[in-house]
Amino acid sequence: MGSFAYVAPKTVRETTEKLAELSGAGTPTQIMAGGTDVLVQLRTVNRAARTLVDIKGLAETNRLDIGADETYIGAAIPSAVLNENNDLKTLFPGLTEAADLIGSTQIQGRASIGGNLCNSSPAGDSIPALIANGAVCVIAGPGGERELAVEDFVTGVGQNALAADELLLGLKLPNPGPRTGDAYLRFIPRTEMDIAVAGCGVRLDLDEAGVCTSARVGIGAVAPTALLVPAAAEALIGTKVDDAALAAAGAACSEAASPITDKRGTVEYRTKVISVLCRRAGAIARDRAAK
């Protein structure tokens, strides 16, 4: 039985060196940002001793940078801070709404979208919204940084592409164009603070005539990982995102889903609901793009 330890490195290099040293020595490690998943798990499902590596002290995980073409969101920024930033909310309303759906005021004071992604739950609300927005993960390791499309980051339930000596620094999102809209909707049986039964994020671009020129659709809680659904995007591209196109995109989401039955919903129910959420989120994204 090992013992717990806590380290709060101040630089990326210090962090990756510490992670490499600990993993090399066979010491279990746990990276934490806001800790709203990690500390609950530490008290319930996995009580084993480990070294907690707090990455909130790094400049790179706290940086929020809205550039000319892309936006960088540090992995440890609490969702409450994201939702206090009106520029970010204007650029990515679907993503900030997804972050705002996760937990109570208290939880949002700590929880980050980087942590939501690294927790790698099938039902993480920010993940389909990140997928829809074409987010790219910025990952640091001993050899430097690498980038990975967000839809390739989560590899299974609670599993992701991070090596033992790597950490997620932040997420890069392409900024919206002149007629771009995004939206995220989830279904839960109550008004808030529940885990998604199904969730769908949509981002699309329209041309001057209102025809969709590009689209991305992400779905969550209906497969072992959140998924990018290219067939749903194809159903929207080239259309005016009318009812028929939205219905076809919804049908593509149902087709892509491989949900489980649990207390939140059955396979049949989730398969149906994901198509409805896609239609509604697609309509919101279209209306936002047309504004």
Partner: protein, 159 residues
Amino acid sequence: MSKLHVTTSINGDPVEFLTAPEQTLVDVLREQLDLTGTKEGCSTGDCGACSVLVDGRLVCACLVLAAEAEGAEITTIEGIATADGLHPIQEKFLEHAALQCGICTPGYIVATKALLEKHPEPDEETIRYWLAGNLCRCTGYDKIVRAVQDAATTLAHEA
């Protein structure tokens, strides 16, 4: 197991303590620092009884490691009243009988303080959503909402 030395500020006072790495802030507040006003309910961030402010931000002290308090400014329920007496939020909770057993009350008052600093004139929906992370199994919530509305009015008049 090696303990960590933490230097922090609690309710404006400099405080130092030793903590095990896995100990939470609510553990240290209650068991080492005798600040027992902060209650521990669920220990998993669901009930809000342990609500405190860390650098002005409302959080659950059960989901903060004590080690993370290093260099932070923490406000607990013990820091809400002033030398002149109870804070208007506390007075309004008493006036409206917005408590029965009282276990959730410190968390509600800290959460309400954070709410009224951000939204000085909240509507009922804003109050209910902001306080959705605080559970009360006695009152049925309406008295709490009324106390918060009244406290908001009182504080707006004082300002």
